[in-house]
């Protein structure tokens, strides 16, 4: 089966600019996650979707981050405006049941300068 697709692979922006990341999960996976991974740390959950509804966004900095999952398939994560501390790898993952078998994409590496 095809894996989780993410784009772009790399992005460099200046602080205060906006950026968007795209994720296409594995076909049939109802649950989709966005994680932020800062260099040297484990991934941290930002938001969890079940189909097109938000299950958990308690760790999402809502003043600057937003995410949507229209039609319960693809998802986009946006940052506006970006700060230097947003430099990280943004990982998308999906799962069939929401309780296991998470599959991760390769991530988007964001550098804010």
């Amino acid at each position: 089966e095809a894996g989780v697709a993410q784009s772009p692979r790399y992005k460099i922006i200046e602080k205060r600019q906006s950026v968007a990341f795209w994720c296409n999960p594995i076909s049939g996976h109802a649950t989709l996650y966005w994680y932020q991974q800062i260099l040297g740390q484990g991934p941290k959950l930002l938001i969890q979707f079940q189909n097109n509804g938000v299950v958990d966004d308690s760790q999402l900095p809502k003043d600057r981050f937003s995410a949507e999952r229209l039609k319960g398939v693809d998802s986009t994560l946006k940052i506006q405006p970006a700060k230097l501390e947003d430099s990280a790898v943004y990982l998308c993952a999906s799962s069939f049941t929401g309780g296991g078998s998470y599959t991760f994409g390769s991530g988007t590496r964001l550098t804010v300068v």
Partner: protein
């Protein structure tokens, strides 16, 4: 490119030796645990999982041990190979279905 885990704890082993990577988890209510391997520039890759009703599970060259009393997980890799070099994360799944990752350990295999 930049590698994951520049400042993580590091375990160095000789090729062919066995590796043991340890992890302490935080939530006593967690009932599902996963070990992931992450190579530079890639997302975490599933290695092996274990449910809380088990204390040991074996895969190909890998074994996971779970000690719920002290909230401890370990990953054992037999006959470690150069391709095993990566950062290893344990993750716990709580009742809210959130997957929470530990700090990670970098495994370096030398000839």
């Amino acid at each position: 490119g930049e590698s994951v885990g520049l400042h993580l704890p590091t375990l160095s082993v000789q090729e062919g030796d066995n590796s043991i990577i340890n992890c302490a988890y935080s939530n006593s209510a967690s009932d599902y645990f996963i070990w992931y391997k992450q190579e530079s520039g890639k997302g975490p890759q599933f290695i092996i999982d274990i449910r809380s009703n088990m204390d040991k599970r074996q895969g190909q060259r890998v074994t996971v041990l779970l000690n719920k009393t002290v909230k401890h997980l370990s990953l054992q890799i037999a006959a470690t190979q150069p391709g095993d070099s990566a950062v290893y994360f344990c993750a716990e799944n709580s009742i809210t279905d959130k997957l929470i990752f530990g700090t990670g350990t970098r495994l370096q295999v030398f000839p």
